[in-house]
């Protein structure tokens, strides 16, 4: 058994066999797990916002879908991963509170994060092979570099492996 490395909110990290990466309690944020099927180099980004271009305060590149995924990929390549061997699994992007009124911008952030992540991955030609997104509950995710299995935990629900 390897180590389980924690990735915080607006944070990212990579690992290699036999370690795993986890991020706890994803709400409207999206956990983007990238996995190189050949070298088993693994990355996980905890994305809070769709785009670094919409925000002036964008020094933390891990915070955004676009720059966060780019950076995770760059670190994985440094460890020998190849973009053409990488697949993605994503989770999160929940709408935690069911507001029906006002400022959709603020409240549909989960959905917008998921869209932005998908757009970015498709631009990079990285296929999304599994996802557990949307709805209204929080999720803890773990990506295992040995198998590429993405485990999702939620309160009052069964463990899900995708």
């Amino acid at each position: 058994m390897g180590q389980v490395i924690k990735v915080g909110m607006a944070d990212l990290n990579i690992c290699t066999v036999p370690d795993s990466l986890t991020t706890l309690g994803l709400g409207s944020c999206v956990g983007v797990a990238l996995y190189d099927k050949v070298t088993k180099v693994t990355g996980l980004a905890h994305v809070m916002l769709p785009s670094s271009k919409e925000i002036s305060n964008n020094s933390n590149i891990a915070k955004f879908a676009d720059t966060g995924i780019d950076e995770t990929l760059r670190l994985m390549r440094e460890k020998g991963a190849k973009t053409e061997n990488i697949v993605a699994k994503i989770a999160g992007g929940a709408q935690m509170f069911a507001f029906s009124l006002r400022s959709n911008d603020m409240l549909n952030i989960g959905e917008r994060n998921v869209k932005a992540v998908k757009k970015k991955l498709s631009e990079l030609n990285i296929p999304i092979i599994a996802e557990d997104t949307g709805l209204s509950h929080g999720r803890t995710v773990i990506i295992d570099s040995n198998t590429g299995i993405f485990t999702i935990k939620a309160v009052g629900k069964k463990l899900k492996e995708i």
């Binding site: 309690g25 944020c29 305060n57 915070k63 935690m96 507001f99 009124l101 309160v155």
Partner: protein, 208 residues
């Protein structure tokens, strides 16, 4: 240009925000005490600007199940306000309000039935309402709140909602931790998220 930079807040502004937290939480405690018809003491609230990753760990662990009550605020200032309670505290408040005998098996259960759910929303409404009315009196600003929305889930996932709002302007969030202290030891946390312009409005209204 905004007066406030949450990443580099000066001590005067910080003290003002702290005082707002203090008065708001004080008023909320009084409201809670009246509602429950019990004496409730409040510890001096801790006000902190914390990084996103630390936010949930201050309250316990990211995966601890908590009850979060969220209201949108509008009027002279815009933003959101959140009140968080440990599930155990939420259960104990609901029991007190509804006059039910505590069931030890349900003490830490995240399952609340419809009636309990609505009681908890109402508690959140009263507490946050008292908090906001203190803020409104102090600043003479017109502040109105939406109906409360309740969610019971992992702390980090609930906190992601205000954290995302903060993340648009910085990498830290303003957290006001209040510990109510009656026999059952109720712990609660306020997270006030004015949008950036609203910080200016608040500070200007206080002559800063």
């Amino acid at each position: 240009m905004s007066k406030i930079d949450l990443n580099n807040i000066d001590s005067v502004h910080f003290d003002v925000l702290k005082e707002i937290g203090n008065i708001g939480a004080g008023n909320a405690t009084t409201a809670l005490s009246k509602m429950l018809n019990a004496k409730i003491d409040m510890n001096v609230p801790k006000v902190d600007l914390v990084g996103f990753s630390e936010m949930a760990s201050i309250m316990g662990s990211e995966e601890d199940v908590m009850a979060g009550i969220l209201l949108l605020i509008s009027g002279d200032i815009d933003g959101m306000m959140m009140f968080l309670l440990e599930v155990k505290s939420a259960r104990s408040l609901v029991n007190t309000l509804m006059g039910t005998t505590p069931d030890p098996e349900k003490e830490n259960s995240p399952e609340f039935d419809e009636m309990e759910h609505s009681a908890l929303s109402e508690i959140g409404n009263i507490i946050t309402g008292a908090y906001l009315s203190a803020l409104s009196d102090l600043t003479r600003l017109n502040i109105s709140a939406s109906v409360p929305h309740l969610q019971i889930d992992m702390a980090a996932s609930i906190l992601s909602v205000p954290a995302i709002e903060f993340s648009k302007v910085g990498d830290k969030a303003l957290l006001i931790e209040t510990q109510f202290d009656d026999d059952s030891n109720i712990n609660g946390y306020f997270v006030l998220v004015p949008d950036l312009d609203s910080y200016d409005t608040i500070l200007s209204s206080l002559g800063l």
